[in-house]
Symmetry: none
Subunit: 407 residues, 2 copies
């Protein structure tokens, strides 16, 4: 599909804005979903004039991670491009990574020793402060700089999160990094041994085990952050850039490292946002408007509150977005699309596989099918229920940026 | 799918009529679509008793040409069978083509010389009369019969259209014909040089350039048709016939050359229609009824008026068709299907990617979901939103011509 779409790309250049309300899809809880419960007069008005539908992020019944769900929204087949959490975090933190690097996502955590066994008592070390995080990372940087001639580095993230990179003397392929995550996913359990998941990954497995032991030894005197759980071991993926695929200058307007990471991975310019609110993002959008053709505008909090099971606060974020929508509409994009990367129903407190509403507003929209931007109303639209990877086809079509296929 | 479907084809023989209202799908303009605005009491009545749905002609977001959209309706994967405009026009004009022939679609056009450059002033030479077209083609036939031992022929089409065939001494493959169209698509511009689009097509590129120069020299004294723009260079495609795929005797009832071309390409018998109206086509249908199992009945004008942006006239063609529908129903086909090949919304004045309504009437229909044959009403039907290439599966199923799959 990549080749076909690139071949059809014509010379036109129109402005497209893709707004992703992370995890916006919900379930009735008990009667209404988050989108149904929210008071959204501006979204309602826009929905009536827009083409609507729903997307299945990856495949029927599969619950996606944020990375794969986003790849899908950007028009990549998420089943062909598997991207690890480590690389996304690393890119998001502006860490320099190359094909020689293995990137690992780490969580500082608390363990206790019990009958010569380690037991995880807090997987997030009480969500330590960013300052504390920096202090711990400094210790690790001093104590662990090499393992078997492999250069090791540590980079602070938010709260309990950090990234560790290992620089090898040769390029790694992804099969060499298939090693078990050490996070047991539950407290009161032992960390998992980072065993190799195939023959090729034995070497990396041994190094990660050494790394785990070195980290434990370096932090054993800490009260909270006395251990680190590791996961998402990943190499730099080979992925065509957004510009290669679509011939567009693209910018991302995001506030969370991981989403910055994924946008940079596909070659977007990540614009500086002067604060963490949607208003700050809008400011950045206005500033960058002239310079780029395609904007990816990511709102995180809908997902966070969904994960917390906080129906009311998730609804609140949707309402906050609605208040700012008129200012976005005023910018007069040729194509304005609103959707989520996946559903995060407050009722489930987690990502889910349920379809996500989609709205596309352009002069070529088939409008008049949906009264609101909700799961049920969007399902009535003419975009139908489609796999997320086709969203970019629709956006390019609405922007008149694809030529006719075939004679 | 071809093989699977052929394997399941049983011994039954039932009569199927597929009516294609070209480009029938529309957009609200401003409130109703063409199908919604049309007064269609007979279609409405039929829709209530039929199974309905919508088809995506080629792929989500891709706007198809007529050729690829039709291949899809006929059950071929349009992404696997790429058929050029030249061959479709040639077949439609009853020109004999073989695997040794390269077929080219030409437009007589007007150019002027400005500072030693040619500028296209009218891409259609004022839509010259068929008589004028014949006079010009006669000149070309006399003056250009060979280029480098390759036999050249010219055949008149309608108005400014013609076909040129080049007969090579060996079979050509499609990559040898990947050469740039010379039509700049806009007036006030220079014709495009027919450059080779890959290494294999250099030879054909040079010949087409010579052809362009020879045509220009032969016509330089003409006032209107003093040039020709060339496109759709195509070889004879290898494509299984309708009879091979479905074991049916098939006939097409069409009035436009291109559609005659595509129906012949898939092995249909193109029946003679004594005039250009839908009534004339009905007459042909009645006459041929006994002799064939499957009829492809093509109505062109919905698309033409859509392309012109003439909402009212497009609506009028739909109403004209509605008036004749009771006579078609009386013929009592086992399966009667009505759809379009793609959408041509008057609002867009062009083909589009939007889904197209489908209606299938047979004794096996799941009816009762749709009140009319419109985009919105058909979307409620049990056929759902499906890729056009699956239409033939549904028609064969309704005709009880496929055996059970699997044990």
């Amino acid at each position: 599909m990549h080749q076909l779409r690139s071949n059809l790309r014509n010379e036109k250049s129109n402005k497209i804005l893709l707004i992703v309300l992370d995890g916006v899809g919900g379930l009735p809880f008990p009667k209404l979903t988050e989108l149904e419960a929210a008071r959204t007069p501006n979204l309602d008005k826009l929905a009536k004039k827009s083409e609507t539908g729903s997307h299945v992020p990856v495949l029927n019944g599969l619950t996606p991670g944020s990375g794969s769900a986003h790849l899908s929204l950007f028009g990549y087949d998420p089943l062909s491009f598997d991207i690890g959490r480590g690389i996304l975090e690393a890119l998001g933190l502006d860490v320099e990574v190359t094909p020689y690097h293995l990137s690992i996502r780490g969580n500082f955590s608390t363990v206790k020793e019990e009958k010569k066994k380690l037991i995880v008592t807090d997987r997030r070390a009480g969500r330590l402060s960013n300052q504390e995080n920096k202090r711990i990372v400094k210790i690790l940087k001093q104590k662990i700089s090499k393992i078997d001639n492999i250069k090791v580095d540590f980079i602070s993230g938010i709260e309990h999160r950090f990234v560790c990179t290992l620089k090898f003397s040769k390029k790694l392929n992804s099969s060499e990094c298939l090693v078990a995550d050490t996070d047991p996913e539950n407290e009161g359990m032992e960390p998992i041994y980072p065993k190799n998941l195939n023959k090729n990954s034995l070497k990396v497995s041994k190094i990660i085990n050494k790394l785990t032991i070195l980290i434990r030894n370096s932090l054993s005197k800490e009260k909270k952050a006395n251990y680190a759980l590791l996961r998402g071991y990943s190499v730099y993926p080979l992925i065509p850039t957004f510009n290669q695929l679509y011939k567009m200058k693209t910018a991302s307007i995001v506030t969370y490292p991981m989403y910055k990471g994924i946008s940079k991975l596909v070659g977007m310019t990540s614009l500086n946002v002067p604060g963490s609110s949607i208003s700050h993002q809008l400011e950045t959008l206005k500033k960058g408007y002239k310079k780029y053709d395609f904007f990816y505008f990511h709102i995180k909090k809908t997902d966070s509150y969904g994960e917390d099971g906080n129906f009311k606060k998730k609804t609140g974020v949707i309402e906050d977005f609605d208040k700012i929508l008129p200012d976005i509409i005023k910018l007069n994009f040729d194509v304005l699309a609103i959707t989520g990367d996946h559903s995060t129903p407050a009722r489930m407190k987690s990502h889910s596989w349920h379809p996500v509403p989609v709205l596309i507003n352009s002069k070529n929209s088939f409008y008049g099918t949906s009264k609101r931007f909700t799961e049920k109303e969007c399902q009535k639209g003419t975009l139908g229920l489609f796999e997320g990877k086709y969203l970019m086809n629709f956006l390019l079509a609405h922007a008149e940026m694809l030529s006719k296929f075939g004679a």
